[in-house]
Symmetry: C2
Subunit: 753 residues, 2 copies
């Protein structure tokens, strides 16, 4: 655990520049607006260790993966978000000396991310020879004009006189740290010194993946007035310099407005014109006015999603940080985008889409955002159905295999044990359709586009299982379950269970589907009989003596011992142990059997859940950031509140406290829903099956109270759990809820109407 920032309900702030943990600090101070995002790099540059990162949603590159040995069915390329041209730079000199916090003298450093709206501010006093200058920075990425980034720097001379130069740059000469052979992904196209813009294109690729063209344009304002500095250009690079001379007490405010457009929206030839139009909109209003409009949008989001925790300020900060970072990554505006495990905060996991979205984000987003936001996530998968069919075909299989990692529906990871073995993701994508339908009551998706997804997936399962003559059962061999610390196992209980669930759900939905779609899908009676046969004769590894579902065929043969036997110095094992040792060990990365008990919660008895939890949780090292929340929810359900609270702590402040020692690479965006799930589904026991919202709230020992908001079927609800439980209908028609097994009828009170 490493806590760099001060605890505060709405701020993530520090008075220290962390020179040895600069990357961690950068990750935590990343900001985004769904369209783009950037790490907390410094405007003036920083020559110490750090990771420069600016990312544009959907702008990626298919990097070569076919090196060494390659086999049929392996993906041709590894898709990765690429570091986009940087628009942040405002190099600074004071009396000819470069300001660089890695080398300069300074005092009174302060850095703060305001969670209300993702405003990042920073200040410090630069100490030069006979001169002291206070610099104050502010930046945000606009919610009202998503292509716009607004950056200000305010210089105040505290002592002496200062000649200050500001070099506002647009810099396309960026690389990825993870590029295999130090190759660059961007090719400069054009620099326009008059328009103050640069245009670049991603380099060609042999995989028929479109090249992306981006244009960045800047406009400087001094004390609110548009100005033109001295412009210099080089290939893929533009610099605009302004100089000021200040004496003690004088100050100078520079604003750098940036517009970034990409060929995802604007054809390359039209980008200059479009950027000019957008910039005209930006310069019509000042920084404050833009910030106010931006903050207003955020306030509307918070009104539907805020969580209040009394009695645990660290937990309070953690949950708000997580919600803010999630919303900075995705709020459904662009259906072609999804939520990468690191969002816009790092290179790792390549900004691509994983099953994380369906398994961990959908259950939260359903409740904290308008339904169309979650529906956009579902629509994304339907739009990528051709890619899923392609992926199955690559394996010689029928139906649709959704990718483990993708930008466009086509699998683009490069480990066979993941790409064509971790097929349980296909079930999670179907399960999200079920969850959306069950929560919203809106059947229009599952009966139309959703049905095409379900049938595509069902056809995949039907071809992927095999019938074992020896066992007289259907089996699924050669999979990797949610526990990625085992590869290529047979009959992963979770996968077998979810595959059958998917076939059942599809068979149940087919009769209700839109007739035209059902006709086009042309599921034959023979297919349905085959699906039913699989449902009826699936093999599930179980152990009668232990009374548990067995994770996979060979699991009980392992050298089974609790994770508590691992010395602390060897944790996390994925950083200390060889992959060989990990694969053979009994230690579980994240919920596997328990993930099934979480998803299909109402199918299993309390005793079944308890026996499996008591067997598997002690073996679990929770080295996926997705792990603790699911365990916290089950622990709470089983009345193990101490365990639930301990696990909650690992998810609530995973990044703020750097629990997994890897936040320097970027935030665990898709795990951030875990803290919300742990509170709402865990502590508050929220369930929503069978068209009824239910709660069974518990209060963690050290908390006085927690409150959260829910959007449910046209209502806005507030749930308040303290010594007593109060659910309030804030908006929408009356509703009956179930609290601790008792029905409560709610209507909007007058003062909320």
């Amino acid at each position: 655990m490493k806590r760099l920032f001060e605890v505060d309900p709405w701020l993530v702030a520090t008075h220290r520049l962390e020179t040895t943990d600069r990357r961690l600090q950068e990750s935590i101070t990343a900001v985004g607006n769904g369209y783009m995002g950037l790490r907390g790099n410094f405007e003036e540059g920083y020559s110490g260790d750090g990771l420069q990162g600016t990312y544009l949603g959907g702008v990626w590159f298919p990097d070569k993966t076919r090196v060494g040995w390659w086999k049929n069915g392996y993906p041709e390329y590894f898709g990765k978000v690429i570091n986009a041209p940087s628009f942040l730079g405002i190099g600074i000199t004071v009396n000819g000396q470069q300001v660089d916090l890695a080398k300069s003298h300074y005092r009174d450093f302060y850095l703060a991310l305001d969670l209300h709206q993702g405003l990042l501010t920073r200040r410090f006093v630069y100490i030069g020879a006979d001169v002291e200058v206070q610099f104050e920075f502010a930046r945000f990425l606009s919610q009202t004009i998503p292509e716009a980034a607004l950056i200000t720097v305010n210089a105040t001379v505290l002592k002496g006189t200062a000649t200050i130069t500001f070099d506002a740059t647009l810099d396309g000469r960026v690389t990825n740290e993870d590029s295999n052979y130090d190759e660059r992904f961007w090719v400069a196209q054009h620099e326009d010194a008059t328009a103050k813009s640069i245009q670049l294109q991603t380099k060609p690729n042999p995989y028929a993946v479109p090249q992306f063209t981006v244009l960045l344009k800047q406009q400087l304002r001094v004390n609110g007035q548009a100005i033109v500095g001295k412009v210099t250009t080089a290939s893929g690079w533009l610099q605009e310099q302004v100089t000021t001379h200040l004496t003690t007490g004088e100050h100078y405010q520079l604003e750098k407005d940036v517009v970034v457009v990409t060929s995802r929206d604007i054809a390359p030839d039209d980008q200059a014109t479009k950027a000019t139009q957008l910039m005209n909109r930006v310069v019509k209003d000042d920084f404050k006015t833009h910030l106010a409009a931006h903050t207003q949008r955020w306030a509307q989001r918070w009104a539907k999603s805020d969580v209040v925790i009394d009695g645990d300020p660290a937990a309070q900060q953690g949950i708000r940080f997580n919600i803010a970072q999630l919303f900075m990554t995705y709020y459904g505006e662009d259906k072609r985008l999804n939520i990468g495990p690191k969002g816009f905060t790092g290179e790792k996991y390549g900004g691509a889409t994983y099953w994380d979205t369906e398994a961990f984000i959908v259950p939260m987003y359903l409740a904290v955002t308008p339904p169309e936001v979650t529906r956009a996530l579902l629509q994304y998968r339907h739009d990528q159905l051709p890619g899923a069919y392609h992926n199955a075909r690559q394996q010689g299989l029928a139906g649709a295999l959704y990718p483990m990692v993708t930008f466009n529906g086509i699998e683009c990871h490069n480990e066979w044990e993941i790409t064509f073995e971790e097929i349980h993701r296909n079930a999670a994508i179907a399960f999200a359709i079920y969850q959306y339908t069950a929560y919203t009551g809106d059947e229009s998706y599952v009966n139309h586009d959703g049905l095409e997804v379900l049938v595509g997936i069902a056809r995949f399962w039907a071809d992927r299982v095999h019938f074992s003559q020896h066992a007289q059962k259907y089996m699924i061999h050669g999979v990797t379950g949610p526990n990625e610390y085992e590869n290529n196992v047979n009959n992963n209980w979770y996968t077998n269970t979810m595959a059958v669930w998917e076939l059942q759900y599809t068979l149940a939905q087919l009769p209700k589907g839109d007739p035209d779609i059902v006709a086009a899908l042309a599921v034959t009676d023979q297919e349905k009989r085959h699906w039913q046969a699989i449902i009826d004769q699936m093999y599930y590894p179980t152990d009668k003596k232990l009374g548990i579902f067995v994770q996979q065929d060979g699991f009980l043969d392992k050298d089974i011992r609790p994770a508590s036997t691992i010395p602390e110095t060897q944790r996390p094992i994925n950083q200390h142990w060889s992959w060989d040792r990990i694969l053979r060990s009994p230690f579980i990365k994240q919920a596997d059997v328990l993930q099934g008990l979480y998803f299909l919660n109402d199918r299993f008895s309390h005793a079944e859940k308890e026996r499996n939890f008591d067997f598997y949780e002690p073996l679990t090292v929770h080295e996926s950031s997705l792990s603790p929340s699911i365990h916290a929810i089950l622990a709470a359900e089983l009345g193990k509140m101490d365990t639930a609270v301990a696990l909650y702590a690992r998810t609530a402040r995973l990044d703020l406290d750097d629990y997994n020692h890897d936040t320097q690479d970027g935030l665990h965006i898709t795990s951030m829903s875990g803290s919300w799930l742990a509170i709402v589904q865990g502590f508050a026991g929220m369930r929503y099956d069978h068209d009824r919202l239910r709660f069974r709230p518990q209060l963690p020992k050290n908390w006085q109270r927690y409150q959260f908001k829910l959007t449910y079927r046209g209502r806005l609800l507030a749930v308040d759990v303290g010594q007593k439980v109060t659910v309030t209908l804030l908006a929408g028609p009356p509703i009956d809820l179930d609290i601790n097994g008792e029905t409560q009828h709610l209507e909007v009170e007058d003062d909320h109407a």
Copy 2:
């Protein structure tokens, strides 16, 4: 099957230039001398499709493998032989026109590899405007001066007059086809126009692998007289031009002598001097004299190893081709070298050492070469023991893990499912020690260096097994057996069986070891008890009903069906099926359980062997070139001679008939012993356990007779199997043999004495 060359007992010849199968033709006409080798590229160049390949034993490069996802215990680099600077080139123009068989007119093409000594000759008549010139080429790599290549070209004008230029080149501007990012591995150091040499160095690497420096030097002779042509140089390149004017009937003989030295033997600064000394030796004698000395060395080898087959000319050619290619690859001169799966004939498998050597080469070399040749192969592994300890340490394990692929003892492949899972190789390396000892009766290796190898391996097994509380047995999880069409399986019967065999053999040998070595090894009583416990309580998957050993825990649950159900259009499955489909299929790449029955032949009953053969062989697709021979041996033992003969055919002419459709990449050098093993251990039923050489000969239906030679414990034997069986002692003290269960006493007859 594709047969490009004519059938002949001692020649591999053709009258056709195969423009669409040029690579295949190049592979089959590769020549080598243990020190270096080259594919059958044309001296004058060829602009059509082909693969240029010149390889120097032990000159390799550690190519980056850490791209994309990398986990602890994965090798840092992928070692590969690199295409060496080419010394072959003699570009030719006739009256200003480039001679290029891809574009020029020609007739009477002839290409022949003489198996007596690896002499490659070629001739054709070039047809130009009003001119016809016959060109005759010959090349061989000397056995008497291994650093020397001798190349001649003879031009005879058949019609018209011709001005002919010859451009003899040394060309370091070579690349590997398999280089990941088109990178070059060689950096030019120096070109000397006077000495007619070029010197190059492999580029730096970050893995502490030494860089190699090579120097190539040439000398031209015309009609036997040393001459100097017009020399031009460029970076890493040298050309020496001579021109001649000939009229009809005149001819011109050019000889290009080449010397290649490397920093493996000669320090870079001394290379020029050493090359000059070597060249002085070369030019002292003419081509014919060198060829005669070279052929004499080969005759000595053939006297100990030739196999004669009467009644099957194709089989006769196949076995001689295989023996010749093996001897061109390795004859034990340099203990730092080993036998790569493709020898000097292609890039694939990177010229590195695999378990093929111990499993497939040692059993043949023991009988056809002097004992010191095989012992050099054993010594190679002892010398690399530190690398094997390193490999185990990388996995967090004790003892020695010999690499799957290596140049220096350190694992350098890049598939985890192979590198740290295909650990059965460790047993094969120990088994080679047993075989050497049992065949030669020489215990000096096993009691000294060999014991260090055995104990290192035993310590690895003891740490790699685990005790399953559930099963109350020792198990080995997470392995890949010899059948590489399954990965990460549990309790591969072969691996478990051979691990226990190794522990037993080590425990048995320890008391006989050299006292100093035993003391230094310091095997404790506790260790020995642990080894014995593993021996006593190892788990072996078996099926009582079927009466077979089960390949691995999950095997019988598969959708088991014979390989005959695979449509011919889908073969080989490794080229047509996804890896997913292959892994889950019941189809076996090469002998797995049956490999164990082959190695530990005297442990199992005839009935056991028969039940397992009848179960597994039908599931086997034989897509490893190492597969058919082992099956042929067992089939012969089981009296299934038709099956044995059919399988023999696939190994005898694997490359000559391109059975696996991949000989264009290079020859299957390490499989070439398979045809010899099938004849000697299969048809002739040769066994050598318990200090007694035994035979149980059978004659394939269509053969009249076969004869082979054996070196055994100081004797040279000739075995002749026709309508009757005759074993003759050609040299050495009297010996008692066992033929069809009866003892025969042999003495050297007078006329052999």
